[in-house]
C-alpha cells in the first residue's frame, strides 16, 4: 500500500492550489457578502478544463481520474466553499449521469459542451416534500406524442439559475414492487430556455452564499422524447448512482473547508499574542490543533480512498463504491464542522467577524452535513451494507 501521490497527481494538486490562491481566494469574501455567483471564475475554470476533469478526451474532457477531480474540489474549497460546490454539482450531478446513462447522441450533445465548460450543469431531485425520501416526488412527466410534458417544481437546486443543462427527475407512472404500489421515477435532460421551465425563489442561505440556489418550476414544460435519460422507470437508480459519486465531491468540499480553516488558524495562532506570547505557545492551542490535524488526515484518507474506488468502478462496473463514498462524506462533513467550529474558537472574537475567513468557512461547512444525503442518510447506507 503506497500512500504517496503519483507525479501527475502532485502536479495537478499544485496547479489547483496555484489557481485557487490566485483566481479564487481574492473573490471569496466579496462574493459571499454580496451573494453573487462568480461567473468570472466559472469562465476561468472552463478555460483550463476544470469542468471536465474525469471526462474522457473524446467527450471534450481532460481524461483524468476521479482522484484528480476530488483534489480540484478540495483545493477550490480550501479558499472558497462556493467555488468547490459549483465544480462538484456540475461534474458529479450533471455530467456524470449523462456520461454514465446517456445515449451516444446525448453524450455528444450535452457532455461535450458541459465538459468543455461551454455550458454549466445542475441536478434536480429534491422537492419540498421529497428530500431524503425520494419516493415523495410530486413532479410528473407524461408522454404526449413525441414529447414529455413536465409539471411540478424542484427546490434547493445548486447552480440553479446559472446552469444551462439540468438532469431532472419526475414520476412517470406507478409500478408494483414487493406487493406495494410505488412511484415509477424517470430521469430527463432539460435545457434552460425550454418554454414552461422557469425559476422561483432564490434561497437566502446560511453558507455557500455565492452559490446560485433556486427553485425550478415546470409548467407544461415540453421536452423532446429523446431527452429521457436512461430507461423509463430507472430514475431512482440513476439518482442513487449519481448521489454516490456526488458524495465524493461534497466530501472533497468538506475536506477542503477543514484544511483551509486549519491552515488559516495555524497562521493566526502564531501571530496572535496574549499574555506576552503567541497563543500557539499555549498547550491548549497545541493539543486542539493536533487533534484537528489528525481528524483532517482521517477525512483525507477516506475521501481519496472513495475517489480511487470510483476510479476502479470506471474500469470494472461490478465494483461498488457506495459505502466508501458514504463513509467519506459522513466523516469529512462532520470533521469539517468540528474543525471550522474549533478554528473559530481559536480565533476568539475575531473568528466571529466576517473579515476573517474562518467565519465563512464555518457557515459553509454546515451544508456538507446536509446536502447530497444528510449524515443520517450516510449512516443508513453504511449500516445497510453492514447488516445485509
Amino acid at each position: 500500500m503506497d500512500f504517496s501521490l503519483s507525479k501527475e497527481h502532485e502536479m495537478a494538486r499544485q496547479l489547483f492550489k496555484d489557481f485557487a490562491e490566485t483566481e479564487v481566494k481574492p473573490l471569496a469574501q466579496e462574493i459571499d457578502q454580496e451573494h453573487r455567483f462568480p461567473r468570472e471564475t466559472v469562465e476561468k475554470l472552463a478555460k483550463y478544463g476544470f469542468l471536465g476533469i474525469p471526462v474522457p478526451k473524446e467527450l471534450g474532457g481532460q481524461g483524468c481520474d476521479v482522484l484528480t477531480y476530488a483534489m480540484c474540489v478540495e483545493e477550490m474549497s480550501k479558499v472558497c466553499g462556493t467555488t468547490g460546490v459549483i465544480v462538484s454539482a456540475h461534474t458529479s450531478l450533471c455530467v456524470d449521469p449523462i456520461m454514465t446513462f446517456g445515449t451516444d447522441e446525448q453524450k455528444q450533445k450535452y457532455v461535450v459542451p458541459l465538459a468543455k465548460g461551454e455550458k454549466l450543469g445542475a441536478f434536480g431531485l429534491t422537492e419540498p416534500g421529497a428530500g431524503t425520501d425520494a419516493q415523495g416526488q410530486q413532479t410528473k412527466a407524461v408522454l404526449d406524442g413525441d414529447e414529455w410534458v413536465l409539471n411540478g417544481s424542484k427546490c434547493f437546486i445548486t447552480n440553479g439559475k446559472e446552469a444551462d443543462v439540468y438532469v431532472i427527475f419526475a414520476v412517470t407512472g406507478k409500478v408494483e414492487k414487493r406487493g406495494k404500489m410505488m412511484k415509477e421515477i424517470s430521469a430527463f435532460i432539460v435545457e434552460k430556455g425550454t418554454p414552461g421551465f422557469t425559476f422561483g425563489t432564490k434561497e437566502n442561505k446560511m453558507g455557500i452564499c455565492a452559490s446560485s440556489t433556486y427553485e425550478l418550476i415546470f409548467t407544461d414544460c415540453r421536452i423532446p422524447k429523446e431527452n429521457l435519460l436512461g430507461q423509463q422507470g430507472k430514475g431512482f437508480n440513476i439518482a442513487m448512482h449519481t448521489l454516490d459519486g456526488g458524495r465524493i465531491g461534497i466530501a472533497a468540499q468538506a475536506l477542503g473547508l477543514a484544511e483551509g480553516a486549519l491552515e488559516t488558524t495555524i497562521q493566526y495562532v502564531k501571530e496572535r499574542k496574549q499574555f506576552g506570547r503567541s497563543i500557539g505557545a499555549f498547550q491548549n492551542t497545541q493539543f486542539v490543533l493536533a487533534d484537528l490535524a489528525t481528524k483532517v488526515e482521517c477525512a483525507k484518507l477516506l475521501v481519496y480512498k472513495a475517489a480511487c474506488k470510483k476510479d476502479e468502478y470506471t474500469k470494472n462496473s461490478k465494483i461498488s463504491y457506495s459505502v466508501e463514498a458514504a463513509q467519506a462524506k459522513l466523516a469529512a462533513a462532520e470533521i469539517a464542522m468540528e474543525v471550522t467550529t474549533k478554528c473559530v474558537q481559536l480565533h476568539g472574537g475575531y473568528g466571529y467577524i466576517k473579515e476573517y475567513d474562518v467565519e465563512r468557512m464555518m457557515r459553509d461547512a454546515k451544508i456538507t452535513e446536509i446536502y447530497e444525503g444528510t449524515s443520517e442518510v450516510q449512516r443508513m447506507v453504511i449500516s445497510a451494507a453492514l447488516l445485509k
Binding site: 503519483s6 507525479k7 501527475e8 502536479m11 495537478a12 496547479l15 496555484d18 489557481f19 483550463y48 478544463g49 476544470f50 476533469i53 478526451k57 474532457g61 481532460q62 481524461g63 483524468c64 484528480t68 480540484c72
Partner: protein
C-alpha cells in the same frame, strides 16, 4: 514555424537557498520552479502556436530533476521537450551554459529561439545573447511585445525611459521579460499527457560543435569566491519627523554617522 524556448529550473524564492561546498548552488536540495522570465517566453511561444500553429520545443540544461519544468511546459502546451544533462556540464557559468545550449540547438530546427531575459538565481541576462552569438543569429533582448509577420518578427524592446520597435528576419533569438504576458496555467489533461510523454535526453556526446574546455565548471571563466544566503536586515528604526527639513537633517546625520557622506 518552429520555436525553441530555453527554460531553466530555478530555486523557488519561497524555499531556502542551499550551497555546495564549492560555492555553487545545491539545486537538488531546493524547491524549484520554472524561471518567471522563461515562463513568459514560453507563453509567447504558445501564443504563436495558437495563432499560427507553430511547433514549440522546450530545452533545458540541468540535473535529471530539471525534467520537472519540461513536463510543466508540456502540460502548458509545448510539443516537445529536450533535457541536456551530464555530470561534465555541472557548475556551468553563463559562458559554459550558452555553449552547451548552442551545442544542443545546432541539433534542432528553429525559426525563433526565445529565452527569458534572466534567471532569478543568477540575474546575469547573459545566456540568451551569448547563445545568439554562438549560433551567429541576431538577438533582440528585453522583449515586452512580440509580433510575427511571415518571416519577420517585430519586437517592442524595453528601455529605461522609452522603447524601441525592432524588426528582424528569422531565424533570430529574443529574450523575454516577465511583463510580456501572463503565462497560462497547465491543464489537468495536459499534466497527465506530459507525465507520459517522452523527454529527449542528451548528454555531452550529443552536443554539436563544442569543445570540452568550454563546458561545465572547468570551462567556466567565472570563479565563485564565496556565496552566501542574503543577510537578513534588522527591524529598522521608525522615525516621524515634524517637518521635511527635520527629515532631511535626520537622514544626513545618519549618513554621516555611517560614514556614507
Amino acid at each position: 514555424m518552429k520555436v525553441v524556448v530555453c527554460i531553466k529550473q530555478v530555486p523557488d524564492t519561497k524555499g531556502g537557498v542551499k550551497f555546495n561546498p564549492d560555492g555553487t548552488l545545491d539545486r537538488g536540495a531546493m524547491l524549484a520552479i520554472m524561471n518567471p522570465d522563461d515562463k513568459a517566453g514560453l507563453e509567447a511561444a504558445l501564443r504563436l502556436k495558437d495563432q499560427y500553429g507553430a511547433e514549440v520545443t522546450v530545452l533545458t540544461m540541468g540535473l535529471p530533476k530539471a525534467s520537472d519544468v519540461l513536463r510543466e511546459a508540456l502540460a502548458m502546451g509545448a510539443d516537445k521537450a529536450v533535457l541536456v544533462t551530464d555530470r561534465v556540464l555541472g557548475g556551468a557559468d553563463t559562458w559554459a551554459t550558452s555553449t552547451t545550449l548552442a551545442g544542443a540547438l545546432r541539433n534542432l530546427e528553429y525559426d525563433l529561439i526565445i529565452t527569458g531575459r534572466q534567471a532569478i538565481d543568477g540575474d546575469t541576462a547573459q545566456v540568451g545573447p551569448q547563445i545568439a552569438e554562438h549560433l551567429g543569429i541576431p538577438v533582440i533582448s528585453y522583449a515586452q511585445e512580440i509580433k510575427v509577420d511571415k518571416d519577420k518578427v517585430t519586437v517592442k524592446r524595453q528601455y529605461d525611459d522609452r522603447y524601441h520597435m525592432v524588426e528582424v528576419k528569422m531565424p533570430c533569438l529574443i529574450t523575454a521579460l516577465s511583463e510580456l504576458n501572463d503565462p497560462r496555467y497547465m491543464t489537468p489533461g495536459g499534466i497527465f499527457d506530459a507525465c507520459k510523454a517522452d523527454i529527449t535526453t542528451w548528454g555531452r556526446a550529443d552536443l554539436k560543435d563544442v569543445e570540452d574546455g568550454n563546458l561545465g565548471l572547468m570551462g567556466s571563466p567565472t570563479k565563485i569566491a564565496k556565496a552566501s544566503d542574503k543577510v537578513r536586515k534588522g527591524a529598522g528604526e521608525k522615525v516621524v519627523p515634524d517637518s521635511p527639513e527635520d527629515a532631511v537633517s535626520y537622514i544626513v546625520g545618519k549618513l554621516k554617522e555611517k560614514h556614507v557622506i
